[in-house]
């Protein structure tokens, strides 16, 4: 883990690799190079020029936040990342970097809040987890100090969290499956121009079933349509898979009410938060992007003795603000009043 505000040169190559050949991306890349080569002022000028043309651009704003952070301008960096979390609540990186700055100022409770947001957005976001681990340790140490009326004297060791230096939507490198996606056309509403990963050939994400009203989705839906994968399943499994696919469809069609209706009353919220808070957060996440694509790949159903069903699958997710993220997801469902409802949702097997 690198200390804020030190840059992470090792990532430069990766960052470069992630940028595609669009003009915008070239400019971003140039600005990034300037920053890496120790010319933050020139990098800032380049980014400001970009932002003059596209004030909302997420990538440029993110980079500007990094420049401020590298210059030790915590106030401006905070403002930049904070605004990004408001405009693009789907993105985990701004939350993470916001947390790094908070932590560097000793504001561990705020750092914890931001990192938990980051993880809520992307449950498999490794950097945020590592940072959160450090923040928990700091908070624990502070709690111990209060308990024992001591000063453990580790207040000085603040700058240990990792600042992420690229905006890729939080897809962890190990499991990310990049999908073909053209640069987002600058619309009137100016959606974020995020770096576009190079097309990958590993897994073409399949679309959920068609959406009659998904106009916006159609714009950003270059991936070839693939028939929904229907594994040869027992009749009871088919019923469960239908529920999972319907859930994915409600999500992709941004029908939040229908989506939330798939969660059972006894659903265990991932962070242990109140159901209403969780629903509110989900509503924001799902409302924010103009379009969402969700795919369910290679689902495996297992039934347990208590009548619950566990479905594990590769979930493909992409939206107009986030590049594709693939995660292994497990839904635990239970049948209530004739419907299969989700009682647990977790990342991983």
């Amino acid at each position: 883990m690198t200390s804020f505000p030190d840059p992470r040169p090792a990532l430069a190559a990766l960052v470069a690799a992630l940028f595609c050949a669009s003009a915008m991306a070239d400019d971003i890349q140039d600005a990034n190079k300037l920053l890496k080569s120790g010319q933050p002022q020139q990098a800032l000028e380049r980014v400001n020029k970009l932002l003059a043309a596209k004030p909302k651009d997420a990538q440029a704003r993110f980079l500007k936040g990094l420049i401020y952070a590298d210059q030790g301008n915590a106030k401006e960096a905070t403002e930049m990342f904070l605004q990004l979390t408001k405009d693009y609540p789907e993105l985990p990186e701004p939350y993470n970097n916001l947390a790094v700055i908070y932590a560097s100022q000793g504001q561990y409770d705020k750092a914890r809040g931001a990192l938990e947001q980051s993880i809520r957005t992307h449950p498999s976001y490794a950097t945020a987890y590592e940072n959160l681990g450090d923040v928990y340790a700091k908070l624990a140490s502070q709690a111990y100090d209060k308990a024992l009326q001591i000063d453990s004297g580790n207040a000085g060791a603040k700058n240990k969290l990792a600042l992420v230096r690229e905006l890729v939507g939080g897809a962890p490198a190990a499991t990310a499956v990049a999908a073909a996606k053209p640069p987002v056309v600058a619309a009137a509403a100016a959606p974020a121009t995020a770096p576009t990963p190079a097309p990958a050939t590993t897994t073409a994400p399949k679309e959920p079933t068609k959406e009659p009203a998904a106009v916006a989705a159609a714009e950003s839906k270059p991936a070839p349509e693939k028939p929904v994968e229907k594994p040869a399943a027992k009749p009871s499994n088919a019923e469960i898979l239908d529920a999972v696919n319907a859930w994915a469809k409600a999500w992709a069609s941004k029908n939040v009410d229908a989506y939330l209706a798939f969660y059972a009353k006894e659903f265990k919220t991932p962070g242990g938060e109140a159901r209403t808070d969780w629903e509110k957060a989900r509503r924001v996440r799902i409302d924010a992007p103009k379009s969402i694509t969700v795919t369910v790949n290679a689902p495996k159903v297992s039934l347990s003795a208590d009548g619950q069903a566990s479905v594990t699958f590769r979930q493909g997710y992409s939206s107009d603000v986030i590049k594709t993220a693939t995660t292994i997801k497990t839904l635990v469902l239970a049948k209530a009043e004739g419907r299969w409802l989700i009682v647990q949702e977790r990342v991983g097997n």
Partner: protein
């Protein structure tokens, strides 16, 4: 990396298992399951809720509860320690309850652990409605309440006077002397064992922050302590400094320390010069019927002593005094000679007694009987407060000591 249920399970185990051992041994003792009675809104219920959640491995709930507890009592150090453990458990497995850095003196953690155990034990061992403290045979009519300290449990019990019998009202966590109990010497940092009375009320304006919201000195050393040559002074019931909700179970210089909120409640009904404070190693509990039988027997002996004095029959009167009797300056022979001479010269004697209190002295075999004595005779009358120590020897109650109070 983040969650380590194994670690937190150990935390729960470290705390709860030892608590369970205590509960197991004590459920067999005189204390039974709880009697729902009015009591202060202390942090024990909330603390118990936190530990239950940990026990159920619902760490998210435990965190919510401990944070609510801290919001209610920001200076409750024990809650901060548990919160620290809950946070630490998200980063690595815990090795122990209060998994603080190795550089921190372990005693500090042990203090909080001891406080946790005391509080939890008290929560589960509330006095049972059928159980009464064996120390209180008779409360005097004008005493509204009586305090009793169970040193082993670090607990102060409040009883109110219902027709001379003690009725449990509430109990509170207390801090006692750093070196335990049975004070004998000045500076020994021990809490005395015995029967004392609240003798003053010192408002907070006259005190430093160390004593919290106020202090109520008690009369250590009492007559019995002085007869044994015990010394020292300044044993108070007092509050807690503003930087902490409570102090460890063994931390004072001998004083009885309550949380400020608890002292505020207890202090409201204390009667200066009147309210007894019985400090025992461990309160002995008995059933109401046994206590009543004992009280009736002693009350009978006491009445016989009064009546025999009035009768001017010196032999009968003196038969109530034990062989080891002392009035402080007279032994039994001297006392007998004096009484025979005085009483024999009277043509009549009337002895009235009122405001009678009978309290068994902790660690001793005698009962302290205090009363207002209204003595009248053909040539002398006086009214005084008197104190006697009654002891049961060979199946008979006799007076070991008698003097002015």
């Amino acid at each position: 990396m983040i969650s380590s249920p194994g670690g937190i399970a150990r935390l729960a185990a470290a705390l709860l298992l030892s608590a369970a051992v205590c509960f197991a041994t004590e459920s067999a003792s005189a204390l039974g399951a709880g009697l729902a009675t009015a009591r202060s809104d202390g942090p024990e219920n909330a603390l118990s809720g936190v530990l239950e959640a940990i026990d159920d491995n619902r760490l998210d709930i435990a965190m919510q509860r401990v944070e609510a507890l801290i919001a209610a009592h920001p200076n409750f150090r024990l809650a901060h320690l548990i919160r620290g453990d809950l946070l630490m458990a998200r980063t690595r497995p815990l090795e122990t309850f209060g998994d603080v850095p190795k550089t921190v003196p372990r005693e500090k953690v042990e203090d909080l652990r001891a406080e946790a155990l005391s509080r939890l034990r008290a929560l589960r061992d509330r006095p049972n409605g059928n159980r009464v403290p064996r120390y209180v045979l008779q409360m005097q009519a004008d005493e509204k309440q009586l305090l009793m300290v169970d040193s082993r449990r670090s607990r102060l019990y409040v009883f109110e006077n219902v027709g001379g019998r003690p009725q449990y009202v509430a109990d509170y966590y207390v801090t006692l002397g750093r070196n335990g109990v049975e004070k004998t010497r000045e500076g020994d940092q021990k809490t005395p064992i015995g029967i004392y009375h609240v003798i003053a009320n010192l408002p907070r304006q006259k005190l430093t922050d160390f004593y919290g919201i106020g202090a109520f000195p008690i009369d250590y050393p009492n007559a019995w302590d002085r007869s044994l040559g015990r010394n020292g002074h300044g044993i108070w019931l007092h509050g807690t400094p503003s930087d902490t909700y409570s102090r460890p179970p063994r931390a004072s210089d001998g004083c009885i320390v309550l949380a400020n909120a608890d002292l505020a409640v207890v202090g409201r009904t204390l009667q200066i010069g009147l309210t007894p404070v019985i400090i025992a190693d461990e309160i002995e509990w008995t059933d109401a019927a046994s206590l009543e039988a004992e009280r009736a027997e002693l009350a009978g002996a006491f009445e016989a002593w009064r009546a025999d004095w009035e009768s001017r029959n010196a032999d009968k009167y003196l038969s109530h005094y034990a062989e080891r009797f002392s009035s402080g300056d007279q032994n039994l022979a001297e006392w007998s000679g004096h009484k025979r001479k005085v009483n024999g010269a009277k043509s009549w004697i009337k002895v009235g007694v009122s405001r009678v209190s009978m309290l068994r002295y902790p660690r001793e075999k005698f009962v302290v009987v205090s009363f207002d004595q209204d003595y009248r005779s053909n040539n002398l009358s006086n009214v005084m407060r008197k104190r006697q120590y009654w002891i049961k020897e060979d199946g008979r109650w006799r007076i070991l000591y008698e003097g002015g109070a």
